[in-house]
């Protein structure tokens, strides 16, 4: 599927035709993605959709089997130092060394990044309430995520890569992470690539969104544009419908009896005359949530295999 995108020369991240297989399973299937500099790019998808695999390619932890991956115009596998030097990375389960103390982690991490800002690091440490002499193994999950975020952010990276960073964390820590995302974007020219299956988070902070479903990009573009393009209609039929009405071009049809909901891409379908032809009237028209859009697209991409429910 092709989506409008900046040229690879302008992109912070440029992925072209990336395919990755693990044995018989295709984790990524011909994925092409271009992330422009500045702003927040949200990558959404259900568990197992391929988000972490995609991010590992960006970090050079996976070698592209087919296709091409470029970060800052460089191949992360061939030039890991140049690429990783500009990236701050936080994963769902930061595997920070448990034997280190917080201050040791910061000093150790600082050595790798010439742009490390000690004052900023200290400010974040105080803000996150981290004790510098505490061992990482004794930190709680939320504190560990904060320590990981601190280490990822204190060198003011050109690209902040967050791989489901707030998964399983309490609302306070999630708030801290989202604030970090916003703060990073506030620094001119910085980019955040944020993967999550918590769509309300993505909806809150993202400028652009890509939807990954079973290894394929099913939707990509500016969030406002995507939301403006989609509509959720509520149809009222005169007679109760036994089975789902057939509406060509609809992404998702759900409901029962006389009330049915149709999610469709407004640019691709003119629903009112179609509904009239089926003997239904449109009784409601709303902009669907990102969650509904995702579910609609995921279901449309692979009929018969509904997307896993997203929170």
């Amino acid at each position: 599927m092709n989506f409008p995108s900046p040229s690879s020369a302008e992109s912070v991240i440029s992925i072209t035709g990336l395919t990755r297989r693990f044995g018989p399973k295709t984790a990524l299937n011909d994925v092409s993605l271009y992330v422009p500099p500045g702003g927040v790019f949200g990558l959404v998808g259900e568990n197992g959709a391929g988000k972490t695999t995609l991010i590992k390619h960006l970090l050079g932890l996976f070698r592209a089997e087919t296709g091409e991956v470029r970060v800052f115009g460089l191949d992360p596998v061939a030039e890991p130092v140049a690429v990783l030097g500009g990236i701050g990375y936080l994963s769902e389960q930061p595997d920070l060394p448990g034997w280190m103390r917080v201050d040791e982690l910061l000093r150790y991490t600082q050595a790798f990044y010439p742009n490390w800002d000690p004052a900023y690091a200290e400010q974040l440490r105080v803000q996150f309430g981290l004790n510098p002499t505490q061992r990482i193994s004794t930190l709680s999950k939320g504190q560990r995520a904060k320590a990981g975020l601190l280490a990822a952010q204190a060198h003011r990276p050109k690209l902040l890569l967050l791989d489901e960073p707030s998964s399983g964390l309490d609302p306070m820590v999630r708030r801290d992470i989202l604030e970090a995302v916003i703060r990073t974007v506030a620094d001119e020219g910085r980019t955040v690539f944020f993967s999550s299956h918590l769509l309300e988070e993505i909806e809150r902070v993202s400028d652009q969104v890509a939807m990954l479903h079973q290894g394929q990009i099913v939707l990509c573009g500016p969030l406002d544009e995507i939301k403006a393009r989609h509509r959720r209609y509520t149809l009222h039929f005169e007679k109760a419908q036994v089975k789902s009405p057939a509406i060509a071009g609809a992404l998702r049809i759900s409901g029962s009896g006389k009330e049915w909901t149709v999610v469709c891409n407004g640019a691709g379908i003119n629903l009112p005359p179609l509904a009239a032809g089926l003997g239904a009237r449109i009784v409601g028209e709303q902009i669907p949530s990102l969650n509904e859009i995702f579910e609609a697209h995921a279901g449309a991409a692979l009929p018969g295999q509904p997307a896993a429910p997203l929170s």
Binding site: F62, G85, Y89, P94, D95, P97, W99, D103, E104, I136
Partner: protein, 552 residues
Amino acid sequence: MHSPLTALAWEIWQRGRRAAQLALGCAGLCALINLAVPEPVRAADTAQAVFGPLFGLLMVLSLFLSMGIFNYTEYSASREWNGFPYRLFALPIRTWKLVLLPMLLGVAAVELLYLAWIKLVWTHHEIPKPEWFAVVLGAYLVSYLAVLWSLAGFRILRLLVLGLGGVSSILVALLPFFSGIFPSPWCSERRDIPLVLGMAVLAYGVAWGAVARQRCGGGRRHSRIKALAERLSDRLPRRTGAFASPAGAQFWFEWRRTGLLLPLYAALALAAIFGPCSWIFRHDPQYTLLMLVRLLVTPLILAFAIGKAFIKPELWSGDAALTAFQATRPLPDGEFVISKMKSAALSTALAWLFVLGFMALWLPLWADTTDLNRLLGGFRLSYPQSWLAILVLSFAGLAVLTWRCLVSGLWVGLSGKRSLMIATSCLQVGLPASLMLAAGLCSQGIDAAVREHPNEVRAAMVSAAGWLLALAVAAKLGWAVWAWSKITPRRTRQYLLLWSGATLGFVALGMLASPREDLWRVEHLYVLAALLMFPLARIGMAPRALAGNRHR
């Protein structure tokens, strides 16, 4: 699965089935040899000298493998924990059953394997008192698991306790054989069997208590010993300044993670074994010589054992993959390898400093050096001009070999490929075992040839050794050219300088230490062997192996 316990047993089998097949394979192979080799051949002196150690080696290997299968622990990097699988605590099974099941299965497996060895391989009563050994073996397995689980948070202490426990078990196993020398009631099987069984039951009780405490959250964090150890470590001087470079930071990381182990173990061995023994036997000149030899090989043995874990990206983890935390450091692959090599060098230097320091105190202060002085006198007479250079070069050579034991496997360990690690380990055991087997099978012919044509046989062996060594040198250099072709010229030059210096040292040692009257013209063998001593090609492979692990 009919019950949770069956499911757990199945899980243990699934985890260890390859090791189990290998262990059974060792026993099966020896049983087949036993059946296939005719009795007259086996009765030959050379065959007995070869088959005995070969079977013994494979038996020990198979027993170690079976112990490894029942090493029922799981590692958690975030928790710094390698103990009883935490996930099992959520199962609706009582703790005593959770603990008992792996122990019972382990004892049953080890005893069955031992029985197979006794009945199929050692068929000529080569092992005296087999029932007694069976009891000790079972008890050791129970104690082994008890130590693994009880000291889950103290990995270094645990290794030490396991090592001491192993040595103690060997001593206990030998007790009945001392009855002729020390007529004591404690040297009788009748008395020792209930004692050993009682200790096994006690070990089970300890393991049960420890796992139960861990299950309710009290066994790990709130350990008073651990808290005390952490308080002590807090008092130790810590680095507080910033690192000068990424390489410096990575070296610190490696040193903290892996470097301390060898010096620590060397110091412990000196304090717990060599110190007391040297004092007890201070009036025995023969023992001084014997202990000196053991002392000098101790860092090598320790480095060989520690090197198996040192070569992995994470020493304590069972997983050989590079962690994302390490893989995302903006550092070239080669620098990771260099920091490991530097850490190994510092580790080796410290370990040898301890050993030499101990020697400097022990030999002049309380050792009986009569025999040693006589030996040294003879050595000085044989090499009047070069004895000091040979001694210095030998010590330096031992230190270099210790370092080599730590780093030569980096190209395997850093690759993250378990199959490669297993294959190289098998090769390290399999090659000598195959050679011994071949020698055993040809023993009659070898015995006869040596008796009838001793000079010709010796000349042929010298020639064959020369060719083999020359081939090995050629292969090493060829492989090195390929391995270093992808590494920056600056690093290649630096390492070549190091290699040349060390190799020149070995060559000089070989030439100086070759027999004064070289009747068999073996000096070239010393020189060729010296060229093989310092790792070259394998070190060149390490960054490439790490890159494969880092960019999968």
